[in-house]
């Protein structure tokens, strides 16, 4: 991590003005026009999502562009994509907390909310993927008269628990870190409904030292638990593919490769959200160019790992000497889905090198472009892994291609709408910047406290 001198917050910003400003976004009924516009747009997209979901659930998964041999398609691609995006949230709130990166203070709330909503979407896609979603509970080890448990050897069962535990963890982490801020809002709210709403959610937080001690304890315990989850969830999901015998899926490099890819897209999405927060609610001085720079650096780190994984995978495919693996690669390079492969290379290998340049990382349009490229590139990566591996596997007679249908695209676009719809609502209803983390950071800065001192002094209102 490069150290630089760019301020993470303006010198004149103190605890009181910060709290005022953040609360002023949430408590008044008014919202910026841009927010309304964005909400309307994402609400419309969400409606499309609902339409698509209702249609698919009523007629069947045949609505998706799937067949034999390519029986997995958009739902799986999008599951992996969304779960990858969710990952940066956990990394920021857990790993950066443990390693005491205080620049996380202004963006961790946004990142956690992003993780939360991304997991919800990542969890809903497998349901859409199922042929009979109403029997999804068969994957649970619930007691039944046949004494039948799920197949523990199947990665899909691991998946179920991975996504489930990740969802639970993210929910508790997000909620826990919200508690002090909810109490602040409760105290500042003038409207009865707001008082009741935030008061109920604040669970009686009274800002006592004991509360803070418990909070810090719980937060760190959760962070310690979460750190391995960052690696395990996407690692487990990658095993859906690598445990199979499909050439193109069956690579031992997949777990670390997928984690790096997930974090790359996750930091990219965090950057997008940071930029939205900056632009919509005027937090330019709180989420600074220094933040953007650091997000860019994180992206660069992980994209380099991803690029290494690409090379490694190709090497493995050719080093095995197996014709099946080689031909999957030749097909990815020259076959019907070659545009997706080369699109991925363009995004994740060529254009991603723009992250080396600090000027690009610090410029809002520059980083926004790089972040969008990263998300697109990572989606293309999942597309080419999932689709091109089985469309030409062992039996030449069974080779076939699939074309994504309008329902594939509609639900995909709709899910992005749902994501932003939930996120925009969250930004308006909840403090999108963690007030107490920021106050902590400001305090630490002001008093030039050495990092890592566990004793904290809280500024009170």
């Amino acid at each position: 991590m490069t150290r630089d001198d760019a301020p993470l917050a303006p010198a004149r910003l103190d605890s009181a003005t910060l709290t005022d400003r953040v609360a002023a976004v949430v408590l008044p009924a008014r919202a910026p026009r841009a927010w309304w516009l964005a909400l309307l747009l994402s609400a419309l997209l969400s409606l499309l999502f609902l339409t698509g979901v209702v249609y698919v659930l009523s007629v069947g998964v045949g609505a998706f562009g799937l067949n034999i041999p390519v029986a997995w398609g958009f739902p799986i691609i999008n599951t992996i994509w969304w779960i990858g995006i969710a990952h940066a949230g956990t990394l920021i709130s857990a790993v950066l907390l443990l390693t005491r990166q205080d620049w996380r203070a202004s963006i961790n709330r946004g990142a956690e909310a992003m993780a939360m909503f991304a997991i919800v979407l990542a969890g809903s896609y497998p349901l859409l993927h199922l042929g009979r979603p109403w029997f999804a509970y068969f994957l649970l080890p619930y007691p039944n008269i046949m004494d039948l448990w799920p197949q523990w050897r199947s990665p899909l069962v691991w998946d179920f628990f991975a996504i489930g535990s990740y969802l639970l963890f993210t929910m508790s982490f997000l909620y826990l870190s919200l508690l002090p801020d909810l109490a602040t809002l409760r105290d500042r709210a003038r409207h009865r409904v707001q008082q009741l709403f935030y008061g109920t959610l604040a669970l009686g937080w009274r800002n006592s030292a004991r509360h803070w001690a418990r909070y810090e304890q719980a937060n760190r315990v959760l962070a310690v638990i979460a750190a391995p989850i960052v690696v395990s969830v996407t690692g487990t999901i990658s095993m859906d593919l690598s445990v199979s015998i499909v050439p193109g899926f069956h690579f031992t490099i997949f777990p670390p490769y997928f984690v790096a890819g997930a974090l790359y897209s996750g930091f990219a999405t965090t950057a997008i959200i940071a930029i939205i927060l900056r632009s919509l609610f005027g937090f330019r001085d709180v989420i600074t160019r220094a933040h953007l720079n650091r997000l860019g650096i994180m992206m660069l780190c992980f994209v380099l790992v991803v690029d290494y994984a690409y090379m490694c995978e190709i090497f493995t495919a050719f080093y095995t000497g197996e014709d099946f693996y080689r031909s999957v690669y030749f097909d990815r390079w020259t076959g019907p889905y070659a545009p997706y492969y080369w699109g991925m290379i363009l995004c994740n290998v060529v254009l991603a090198q723009g992250l080396w340049f600090r000027r690009l990382r610090e410029s809002v349009p520059g980083l926004l472009c790089l972040a969008l490229i990263a998300d697109i590139g990572m989606w293309l990566e999942r597309f080419q892994i999932v689709i091109t591996s089985t469309h030409k596997d062992y039996m030449p007679s069974a080779w076939d291609t699939v074309t994504p249908t309008r329902w594939d695209w509609l639900i995909y676009a709709g899910s992005i709408g749902v994501f932003f719809f939930l996120l925009l609502l969250f930004m308006k209803l909840m403090p999108a910047i963690s007030m107490h983390d920021m106050r902590d950071m400001l305090h630490r800065r002001r008093h030039r406290q050495p990092k890592g001192n566990p004793r904290r002094e809280r500024s009170h209102e």
Binding site: V59, G60, V61, G62, G65, L66, N67, I68, P69, V70, A71, W72, H129, L130, G131, R132, P133, F135, A136, F138, L139, L148, W149, P150, Q151, R153, S154, P155, L156, V157, F160, D240, V243, S244, I245, V246, F249, D323, S327, T390, K392, D393, Y394, M395, P396, S397, A398, W399, D400, T401, V402
Partner: protein, 1007 residues
């Protein structure tokens, strides 16, 4: 309107009036009924159409009277819906017949016909409901096997689009009304002036022929015409040319060591195809040092399964095959043909080697010409067979199986033009669909005053005829037919005619003046005449039980050809014209179009092309390259003034100038499944007849038409999923099919099989790619069809597929077939990935699918290297969708799968369980061969062996012990239970050496 009404002639054009009423745009209703009713034309229409309503209309009806009428109609309406049933003794089901156990199938011997030729079948019925057809093991034309069309007759039986009522002028009417009109009309048909004519398809049925004879006696002026879209006339004419009389050649291929076909699709067409397949390919696999008993040469104009399975194949345009045969005859010294030249494009050395091989086999050689080839070529083959001494050994002759009619459709058209055809009965034929357009048969038909069409469907002809009578399905009928060898098969109904159809005998008898309402009685009446009164009941019952009359095959004759003059030489040595040639062939699965409404057949991949639903014109890769045509590109074919727009399919092995089009598609009135699928190739036919004609032009329309093929990739990509060698290679290296390295180890524990362990062995030397197994599997296992759109998306549901691979040069490729059912792996990749354990290893080693546990993650299919699993993407079996198999046709022993569930081949587990129950009841073990899978049972060449691999003496264990045995993708360590016996072909070493020389010399051989 006024223009019609104003025509106050006594001959009012009712049809036109109705057309005008139906076809009016702009003003869709009459302003009032009175406006129409006032017109005299309407009065006449009313009287003719509803004779009983006419006085009502004219009279005044009071309100009270009208209400009374309506009430009476309502009350009596129920009565008139009842069909009068013949008085028969019936037994209440409350007292179960002794041998009938609900849930236990009963089997009936019967027969099905194709082009008039019978194949004996066994029909499996549950509680009076036929659900499956199997071959009749002893019947000479079946030998226990069937083809796809016979399998699909079950679906045809339950087809809701079959004709359900007697129709008069397009409206539902009654049989008694028809009989009354017929009686009135028949009075005029005594002499030659007003004549009754009969138009049928090919007829071999002795009872129908007897009834036709009695019709002749009743109406001496009767003329019988036969319309055969897939005609055998050239065969009979060929024997007339060679022997002076029409004879039925019967090829005894089990006697033949060298077989040469001249455009004859021995294995795909004709009444003897199943017998031929057994004789040529049944048990063809050689022992390690042993020989192969026969060698098959094919000279053909379009790739067929016969050519694909042959040892040597030569593709050449249809009209040049005669010249090749003449050149061959010259080499063999057939008199009169000494100077026949070798056509260009054929390697003389190749022909020399072929002639030498034929000569060498002598009496055990046989030359066979295709049905669509000209009579002169047929005559030449008889001369060749005579020259080789084959007559009496590998071929003999008999009386023609098909009844010889007075003429064909052209003759009928001429008779109509002469104006003395007063009545026309069209029985089981659909000329308005299959007649050449130049005959203008529709206009001619309109000139016949009294036309009766009797068919299973109210098809194109049925809609144009004055009267249409529904014909019962063969599984509902009392009937009979002859097999290719002349033996008589009896057909008995397995169910009461569901839609009230009549049998051909009933209809013919009604024309003969006696109209028995009971089809059984009609049939018995005829048979009493054929068998005689003596002990008739017992003999008839015995024949019924057996399914056919033993020893009824026609006597073999070994005629000697008359000395030929030069005329034959002149007709067969012509080299044909240049330019494109159009070759019309029966569709490999829809045949002449009669089966177009059968979804199982429509969705069955055509052998070779693997196309489903609408077909295409086959063109050679060279032609496609020359014209810049892409697959599926629409072209306009024009021939003799007729044009047809059709997509092209680039077919390796197609001769360069040949364009093949299949008959049987483009139906307008087939039913909901078959309407508008493909184009009607007979629109390019000419009335001179003949299926091959030069002078075709082809122009691209620059648009593409989507075609639904089940196989997208046709080369094996150097992967050894299919292993094959020549006999010579096999002798040199008997273990050529064995993998070079040892089997990898598995870390998972082995399964334990204390009882049975089922397995399949597929013999690739025997499989010739007829695809009957696919339809048999579909019928047995309630496999839905999905429609063209879904097939194009790669969602066909067949549990068993037959892969076809090409290798070698595109103009002369080698084609090989490989049936791929589920492999039932010991270490199944599908089992460990299913999160809900919906696919499980059974105690007998089957890889079971638990449908009600499946949630549809499709992981099993992703992880299946063989891609044999099929998924219900939509609710394909929902009864309200147009393509769903009617529930009544389902096998009650097999679950009907719903949406979102994975399915696949089960090794017919229901049959295994049935055998288990049977064996347990009888306190014994399951014997080898007791369980047969549907694909095994249907296979004409017995390429599939199923059994217990725990039993070292079982047939399947014996097969798997062969050095030819190999596991497909065995290196993945899936340890499949389905293994293959590598194919061994028997090419002529002399020709192989020739081609090796050619290749060394840098030239391409012709074959």
């Amino acid at each position: 309107m006024p223009s019609i009404i104003a025509r106050q002639s006594d001959h009012i054009d009712i049809a036109e009036l109705r057309r005008r009423l139906a076809g009016r745009r702009g003003r869709p209703y009459w302003r009032s009924l009175e406006e129409l009713a006032d017109a005299p034309g309407f009065q006449q229409l009313l009287e003719e159409e509803f004779p009983r309503l006419a006085p009502l209309w004219q009279g005044r009806v009071s309100r009270r009277g009208l209400l009374g009428l309506m009430a009476a109609s309502l009350a009596l309406g129920g009565l008139s819906a009842c069909k009068p049933q013949p008085a028969e003794r019936i037994a209440p089901y409350t007292r179960r017949p002794e041998d009938l156990i609900p849930g236990q199938p009963r089997w009936y011997a019967s027969a099905l016909t194709l082009d008039g030729y019978a194949r004996g079948v066994l029909v499996k019925t549950f509680e009076g409901r036929p659900v499956k057809i199997e071959g009749l093991p002893l019947h000479p034309a079946s030998l226990g096997a069937t083809d796809s069309i016979a399998q699909a007759e079950i679906l045809g039986l339950y087809d809701p689009d079959r004709s359900q009522a007697v129709h008069y002028q397009g409206n539902a009417s009654g049989y008694h009304v028809f009989l009354r009109q017929l009686r009135a009309r028949a009075a005029r048909w005594g002499g030659d002036e007003h004549r009754l004519c009969l138009l049928t398809g090919p007829v071999s049925s002795p009872s129908q022929l007897t009834l036709i004879e009695s019709l002749r006696q009743r109406y001496p002026g009767l003329r019988w015409y036969s319309h055969q879209p897939v005609s055998r006339q050239a065969v009979y004419q060929g024997t007339r040319q060679a022997f002076g009389e029409a004879l039925e050649p019967r090829y005894r291929l089990h006697q033949a060591r060298v077989v040469l076909t001249l455009d004859a699709d021995l294995l795909g067409q004709g009444g003897a195809k199943l017998a031929h397949a057994r004789a040529l390919f049944g048990g063809r696999r050689p022992a390690p040092r042993g020989p192969i008993r026969n060698r098959l040469y094919c000279i053909e104009s379009t790739p067929t399964i016969t050519g694909a399975s042959s040892d040597h194949r030569l593709g050449i345009e249809a009209d040049r095959i005669s010249a090749v045969a003449a050149a061959l005859a010259a080499r063999l010294g057939v008199p009169g043909l000494n100077n026949a030249p070798t056509p260009s494009g054929v390697d003389p050395a190749w022909l020399d080697a072929l002639a030498a091989d034929l000569e060498d086999a002598g009496a055990h050689a046989v030359v066979i010409a295709g049905d669509h080839q000209p009579a002169s070529l047929h005559a030449l083959t008889h001369l060749l067979n005579h020259r080789l001494g084959a007559i009496g050994t590998s071929v003999d002759y008999a009386e023609p199986v098909l009844g010889q009619a007075d003429g064909d459709l052209t003759a009928l058209s001429e008779a109509i033009d002469q104006g003395n055809v007063d009545g026309l009965l069209m029985l089981g034929t659909n000329p308005l669909y299959s007649a050449p357009p130049s005959l203008q048969f529709e206009q001619r038909l309109a000139r016949v005053p009294f036309t009766v069409h009797c068919g299973q469907y109210r098809d194109e002809t049925g809609r144009a005829a004055l009267w249409h009578l529904p014909l019962a399905h063969p599984l509902e009928s009392w009937d009979d037919a002859r097999a290719f060898d002349g033996s008589v098969a009896l057909m008995q109904p397995t169910i009461v005619p569901m839609f009230g159809g009549f049998t051909a005998q009933q209809v013919l008898a009604s024309f003969a003046g006696d109209a028995p309402s009971d089809a059984r009685q009609a049939h018995r009446n005829v048979w009493r005449r054929l068998l005689g009164d003596h002990d008739f009941d017992a003999r008839w019952r015995a024949a019924l039980q057996r399914g056919w009359l033993e020893d009824s095959a026609s006597a073999a004759r070994t005629p000697t050809p008359a000395a030929q003059d030069g005329t034959l030489a002149a007709t067969v040595t012509g080299l044909g014209d240049d330019g494109l040639i159009l070759q019309l062939r029966p569709d490999p699965v829809l045949h002449d179009g009669h089966y177009a409404n059968n979804g199982w057949l429509q969705e069955l991949p055509r052998p070779i092309t693997q196309l489903t639903w609408d077909g295409a014109a086959l063109i050679a890769p060279a032609l496609a390259e020359k014209r810049g045509l892409r697959e599926g590109e629409k072209v306009t074919l024009a021939l003799a003034g007729q044009r047809l727009s059709v997509p092209v399919w680039i077919q390796p092995g197609q001769p360069a100038d040949a364009v093949t089009l299949f008959l049987g598609q483009g139906r307008r009135a087939a039913g909901r499944v078959g309407n508008g699928v493909g184009v009607n190739a007979s629109e390019l036919m000419t009335s001179e007849g003949g299926y091959d004609r030069r002078g075709l032009t082809l122009h691209s329309e620059q648009v593409r038409w989507p075609l639904a093929s089940t196989q997208q990739h046709h080369a094996m990509e150097g992967r050894d999923v299919l292993r094959e060698a020549t006999l010579e290679e096999f002798h040199l290296q008997p273990d050529f099919a064995q993998p070079p390295s040892e089997a990898p180890i598995s870390r998972y524990p082995e399964h334990d099989y204390p009882g049975h362990a089922w397995g399949i062995s597929v013999d690739l030397s025997s499989c010739f790619g007829c695809n009957a197994c696919i339809t048999a599997c579909q019928a047995e296992n309630n496999i839905p069809i999905v429609g063209k759109e879904e097939v194009m998306r790669g969602r066909e549901m067949h549990w068993l597929r037959v892969d076809r691979y090409f290798s070698g040069a595109p103009d002369a490729p080698r084609m090989t077939f490989q049936p791929v059912p589920c492999m039932h792996c010991e270490k199944a990749p599908c089992e460990y990935v299913c999160p809900v354990e919906a696919t499980q290893h059974s105690s007998e080693g089957l890889n079971d699918m638990v449908y009600n546990r499946c949630v549809g993650t499709r992981y099993c299919s992703q992880n299946c290297p063989y891609k044999v699993r099929r998924f219900n993407w939509f609710h394909y079996t929902a009864q309200d969708t147009g393509l769903a198999t009617p529930a009544a046709a389902h096998n009650p022993d097999v679950t009907v799968r719903s949406r979102g569930v994975m399915e696949k081949c089960t090794y017919c587990v229901q049959r295994i369980n049935q055998a288990h129950i049977q064996a347990r009841n009888e306190n014994r073990d399951i014997a080898d061969g007791e369980v047969t899978t549907a694909c095994q049972q249907v296979c004409p060449s017995q390429a599939i062996t199923f059994g217990d691999i725990n039993d070292p003496r079982s047939a399947v264990s014996t097969a798997k012990a062969s050095p030819l045995n190999y596991a497909m993708l065995g290196e993945l360590n899936t340890r499949p239970r389905t293994t293959y016996l590598a194919g061994v072909r028997n090419p002529n070493p002399a020709i192989d050496a020739l081609q090796a020389n050619d290749a060394a010399g840098g030239e391409e051989g012709p074959a």
